[in-house]
């Protein structure tokens, strides 16, 4: 049967309500006041963009929301998105000292949202670029979180930056890929607007390699940053029936619900999602919320092997999604050119940790739609075409210096999913920012530091108590260790 939509606009919107709603003012104050204002706080170290969390929380407690948002956005220009989409359980909140006091960690994500919402709702521009530019220019390929993180940092350092984005809107997966109940795409768009306001030019609908050649960029710009992310195509299943119309890529399904009205998104009554990473979880939960009676994850390994975060798993189960472990699809069944079900086999995980098919265990289950949520493929082909001499690792990631983002081509820097193999928005932003500093150092020889928690580092007796290591400030850390040698 062809796919169809099931819900009215009202019900679809209700089902997709935000999971972590905005704090009411007093809630935010009560929460902010719990923060201990730790010194060299572990939450900061656990944030890939190193936001000075105690500082921004203290400012919320002091009802200074504008400054609070500035602290956040200077470290992480996508701070409003990250507040909603970060897996805080394994990042900042997972490191909060409150856990050691057997208390709930600070709700850092929700506080971060509270502060950043304030400046976006009231149209307050907190990011600033120097009035006088430094005369240098950088081309950024890809307007996703990595590209935006890099561009915003460069603009704040005085560079002229142009971002080339092939999609209609910038933001990358942050605009088109995040589960709808975590964040509305307009948050991502607003951040793009904020970054434009500090002078970053963003050219959307421009695919580098097609509309503009790399050679041209190399002529016009002093450095190039690559933040093209991963391909929207996942690896293939390589089973019969894979090309039927009701077999879709998870990213295409998710993208559809970002560009179409929610209630128009088409599904079947019984939906299979293949794979068990975080993308699969997002897909199954959204399929369920948009009216699938049954939305089932099919995973070839065991529950404990699942790559998805435990909190995402628990949340999807709460949404009514089902999980079948130790099953592997071997064929998509069809009638009249439409999906009718899956032929599955049972598996067991052997001593080497590999899933093995149990012979004779075949069975058939009816499904009207199959969502493939396997690992996203790297954009190796495209990159090879754009930069024939660029060094690419075996796993398809772009080879780079971890701290500066510099590739084997000295004028080319990279970060984000295409360099780290696919992590989170916040990693892409943090790495993008680091690469911006790498570019700055390469072009000017100057080290850019901050804004990070203003603490001392490496003060030795007799002046201070003595520190084993520098406290915080990764950039300074490097310098410090260099001096020690």
């Amino acid at each position: 049967m062809p796919l169809k939509s099931f819900l009215t606009a009202k019900v679809a919107a209700e089902n997709m309500h935000e999971k972590k709603p905005k704090f009411r003012p007093q809630e935010a104050l009560v929460e902010a006041e719990r923060c201990l204002y730790c010194f060299d706080a572990p939450c900061i170290a656990a944030c890939p963009t190193g936001i000075d969390i105690p500082s921004f929380i203290k400012k919320i407690a002091e009802k200074n929301l504008t400054s609070s948002a500035r602290v956040i956005l200077e470290s992480n220009p996508l701070g409003a998105s990250c507040a909603r989409v970060c897996p805080v359980e394994v990042l900042c909140e997972g490191a909060c000292v409150m856990l050691d006091r057997d208390e709930k960690p600070l709700q850092i994500g929700r506080l971060q949202r509270y502060a950043t919402d304030h400046v976006f709702e009231n149209n307050i521009q907190v990011l600033r670029a120097p009035a006088k530019k430094n005369g240098k220019s950088v081309a950024v390929i890809g307007g996703g979180p990595a590209g935006l993180g890099c561009a915003a940092e460069l603009a704040q350092l005085g560079y002229s930056v142009t971002v080339f984005e092939k999609d209609e809107e910038a933001g990358g997966l942050n605009t088109y890929g995040i589960a709808y109940y975590k964040m509305r795409p307009d948050v991502s768009i607003e951040e793009v607007e904020m970054i434009k306001k500090i002078g970053v030019k963003i050219k959307t609908g421009v695919e580098v390699g097609k509309k503009i050649k790399v050679a041209e960029l190399e002529k016009k710009f002093d450095a190039i940053f690559i933040g093209v992310g991963l391909s929207s195509n996942a690896l293939r299943l390589n089973i019969p029936g894979e090309n039927l119309p009701e077999v879709v890529e998870a990213l295409d399904f998710i993208r559809e619900l970002h560009v179409e009205p929610l209630h128009k998104v088409k599904l079947a009554r019984r939906v299979a999602v293949i794979g068990c990473g975080n993308t699969a979880i997002d897909a199954v939960a959204q399929a369920k919320r948009l009216g699938a009676e049954e939305a089932i994850i099919l995973y070839r390994r065991r529950e404990q092997d699942m790559p998805a975060y435990p909190h995402e798993y628990a949340s999807a189960k709460g949404d009514g999604a089902e999980f079948w472990f130790n099953v592997l699809p071997v064929e998509v069944l069809e009638k009249d050119g439409h999906v009718t079900g899956l032929k599955l086999v049972r598996t067991k995980v052997n001593d080497q940790g590999k899933a093995e098919i149990i012979p004779g265990s075949e069975f058939v289950e009816p499904f009207g739609m199959v969502i493939k949520a396997l690992t996203q493929a790297p954009r190796t082909d495209v990159l090879k075409r754009l930069f024939p001499k660029l060094k690419i690792n075996k796993d398809g990631t772009v080879a780079r210096n971890e701290v500066t983002g510099q590739t084997n081509l000295k004028h080319v820097f990279t970060a984000g999913d295409c360099a780290n193999g696919g992590r989170e928005v916040v990693n892409a932003v943090g790495e993008g920012r680091k690469a911006a500093r790498g570019i700055h150092k390469w072009l000017t020889g100057e080290a850019a530091v901050g804004p990070i928690q203003k603490t001392r580092y490496g003060v030795k007796k007799p002046y201070g108590s003595g520190l084993d290591h520098p406290v915080r400030a990764p950039e300074l850390e490097e310098e410090y260790y260099a001096k020690q040698k």
């Binding site: 006041e33 170290a45 409150m98 050691d100 108590s465 520190l467 084993d468």
Partner: protein, 437 residues
């Protein structure tokens, strides 16, 4: 069960908890409710020529979500007629013969004081309290703290009062003085039976940044108000001790007031020499029912210490406060961290580093077996025992109970006070202690 009853200068009450002269003690209605809730005494809202109050009247110091850590007010004495107040005292006394009702009084001339004393006795009050403390409004009219700040005037007025006194007289002192002792001595010299303290402290709590007018706001202006509530307790205890330890005030019963919110606060006052206590802000915050917690807490505490009555606790800490010059310079304690409890907030580190003596280092956590869930490599605090001066700061800032404990370190040296040190130096028997590097 320990006996909670007290006898303050002849005024008997079933427990040491009295409602202080303030809004909770305004009417007979409140008096009934207070005694029904379990309060032992009721110091009637100060009776005088009826005044006119303004609106608004209160403002507070909040510590974040913790409301009213300090309360400020610009209210005056009772706005009801003396005859109403005395009539209601009479009614209440009839109904609560075993509870203490004290008439708080404020007036000006000798004749008026005599008149008030007579009416208080006729109403059946168990005693009177002379309000020499109110720090706003009334002092502009030569009463309240205008009296309390001048020991000679105290002596004169208490003298007038005693001429007509047939029931015990308590003099309520103001804290708005450099030393409260001369006032207490004056009251005693003039024959007062007891003193009570503290009344409220001059204060401004805050400025409203929109109006640029402090709170409480009265038609575009504000005024200096009286401060009370938990924030004033340490100041009250200090003044209480000054009187309790003053040889000239010896034997003068004291009713302790100021910031008492729970049994422990009350126990602090009693241990420092108060016979009983009075409470205002805690009632204004939570209502009369709060006395339940106070009574149970004090009673259970006394039981746990094997004390038979409140009297057993009274004054136990008075002698424990001495002059600085008598303290032992050779005593040493240092901080120790219980790593099982430490949550690694590193507040102790930064407090000592920036705010004290640079005696805490941040070191690698390796080998400290701090359990899972920690950020790998996160530096942990370590007390540098030879640098620690034992100031307590880290233990005070540590957010985990009993995580930083101060422990005695034997110095092997004999007790030596500053006085002995100076004497030793003068006699050439001691070498100067080298200055801190």
């Amino acid at each position: 069960m320990a006996d909670l009853s007290i006898n303050l200068a002849g005024i008997k009450s079933p427990n040491p908890f009295w409602v202080a002269s303030a809004p909770p003690a305004n009417t007979a209605y409140q008096c009934h409710n207070a005694f029904a809730a379990g309060w032992g005494g009721f110091v009637w809202k100060t009776i005088g020529t009826p005044i006119v109050n303004v609106s608004s009247r209160y403002s507070a110091l909040n510590l974040g979500q913790m409301r009213m850590a300090g309360l400020n007010n610009i209210e005056l004495i009772s706005d009801r007629a003396p005859e109403t107040n005395f009539r209601e005292i009479k009614e209440c006394k009839k109904e609560w013969p075993n509870h203490a009702i004290i008439a708080s009084l404020m007036t000006d001339t000798r004749d008026n004081w005599h008149d008030f004393m007579k009416r208080a006795r006729d109403a059946g009050a168990d005693g009177v309290e002379l309000n020499f403390g109110c720090p706003h409004g009334m002092c502009e009219r030569g009463m309240g703290s205008a009296v309390g700040q001048n020991p000679e005037v105290i002596e004169t007025i208490v003298g007038w009062v005693m001429e007509a006194a047939e029931i015990p007289v308590i003099v309520k002192l103001t804290p708005n003085v450099t030393s409260v002792v001369p006032a207490a001595r004056a009251a005693k010299r003039a024959g007062a039976d007891a003193v009570s303290l503290i009344n409220t402290i001059n204060s401004i709590t805050q400025v409203n940044m929109e109006t640029m007018c402090p709170e409480p706001y009265v038609a575009g202006l504000s005024t200096h108000g009286g401060y009370c509530g938990p924030a004033v307790k340490p100041i009250a205890l200090n003044m209480l001790h000054e009187i309790a330890s003053d040889p000239q005030c010896e034997g003068l019963p004291i009713s302790g007031i100021g910031g008492i919110s729970n049994w422990k606060d009350a126990a602090d006052f009693i241990a420092l020499g108060a016979t009983g206590v009075q409470v205002c802000t805690a009632i204004m915050h939570y209502g009369f029912r709060i006395v339940e917690e106070m009574k149970d807490g004090l009673s259970d505490f006394l039981d746990s210490k094997g004390m038979k009555s409140v009297n057993d606790l009274r004054g136990l800490a008075v002698k424990k406060v001495t002059k600085w010059e008598n303290l032992n310079l050779n005593y040493k304690r240092i901080a120790t961290i219980d790593y099982d409890k430490c949550i690694n907030c590193n507040l102790c580190y930064i407090a000592c580093e920036d705010g004290a003596h640079q005696a805490i280092a941040l070191i690698s956590p390796d080998g400290h077996d701090l359990g899972p869930g920690r950020l790998p490599g996160k530096l942990i605090p370590k007390i540098l025992e030879d640098v620690c001066v034992g100031c307590n700061l880290c233990a005070l800032v540590c957010p985990v109970d009993d995580c930083i404990v101060m422990v005695d370190v034997p110095t092997g040296k004999k007790h030596m006070s500053w006085k002995q040190y100076q004497e030793g130096l003068a006699a050439g028997k001691l070498k100067p202690i080298p200055a801190h590097p």
